[in-house]
Amino acid sequence: MGVTVVNSDQENQVGSFQKGLLDGLSIAIGYMPVAVTFGLIAGSTGLTVAEAVLMSILVFAGAAQYMALSMIALGTGAIEIVLATFIVNLRHLLMSASINERAEKGDRKLRALYAFGMTDEVFAVTSTKNKPIKAYYIIGVAAIAYVSWVGFTAVGFYMGSFLPLIVQESMAIALYGLFIALLIPSIKKEGKMVLILASLGAIFHSVFALFLSTGWSIMFATILAVVLYDWVEHLLGIKNKEEDRDEEERGQASCQ
């Protein structure tokens, strides 16, 4: 009897995992160009293939990895890059917190496992499921996204050397093209809020860059932009309704 229960449990887990893989396929396809571009730029920034792939294996966070590349290219120190990575990825606290309230209570080791894969996109896909979300389902979604991310980082790295010199020289703009590609749809979807926050970030970075290094400058610009926006919003007496917050969460989920 006990054996039967274990078997049906295992079947359940395999089923959830497979469903997760299927739902995660769209993320895997979406990550393809982003990871290829990351590998490409990593090569042109001077990283070895091992370093580029290791970063995708250990970090698994698109925005932070791109940011690290741009900071490495500017000669930024390691501590600043790590701190900036921390600040940028602090937003995942929210996503894990939200998943924590929606996922099945259970094995901590499984939670620790899928916590590693809690990117914006994995969060977006899993958090739309009804409560309680199965742990193996989340692991399935994260697993296929992760394999795509790591695999296509390596593919992108080797693609770089086949490109003509003029294209390689023009790659310097790629990073900024990517950030623009991430920002514009958010502005279209969320409107003024995103535009104002991004503008404040840009303005404060320009000012701080006059006397601080890039890493600290980006960090302080970000914090000041977010705090100032909130303060002005408060002064103007704009209410933050529950619906607004939910909307922001959805928009946020699509912005990596």
Partner: protein
């Protein structure tokens, strides 16, 4: 070697915020302002990452401004990410070929 440890540390500081709420913290009663600010961080970061860094891409500041502008237009039209990035690279490449 420095690069290796930097990557390991990047991995650690990325994992910790993803891990903590799932294994330890009671997050239901966080203040609204904290949630709000954390949600807005990515947008401010993107702005800071784009400007003024983009101006340093080429000696002639108009080169990155024009190729960045091309990226804005492509992204606004809803082009896929790789097309936006490729478009920016292409426009910069063309300018370098003809206006150097």
């Amino acid at each position: 070697m420095t690069m290796f440890w930097m990557i390991v540390a990047m991995g650690a500081v990325t994992y910790i915020p993803r891990l903590l709420p799932l294994v330890m913290l009671e997050t239901e009663h966080w203040p609204a302002w904290a949630k709000r600010m954390l949600q807005r961080v990515p947008y401010a970061v993107l702005g800071a990452l784009i400007f003024p860094g983009i101006l340093a891409v080429h000696d002639n500041v108009w080169f990155p401004i024009i190729s960045g502008g091309a990226a804005v237009i492509l992204a606004y039209l809803g082009a896929p990410l790789i097309v936006v990035v490729g478009g920016a690279i292409g426009v910069l490449g063309i300018m370098q070929m003809f206006f150097l």
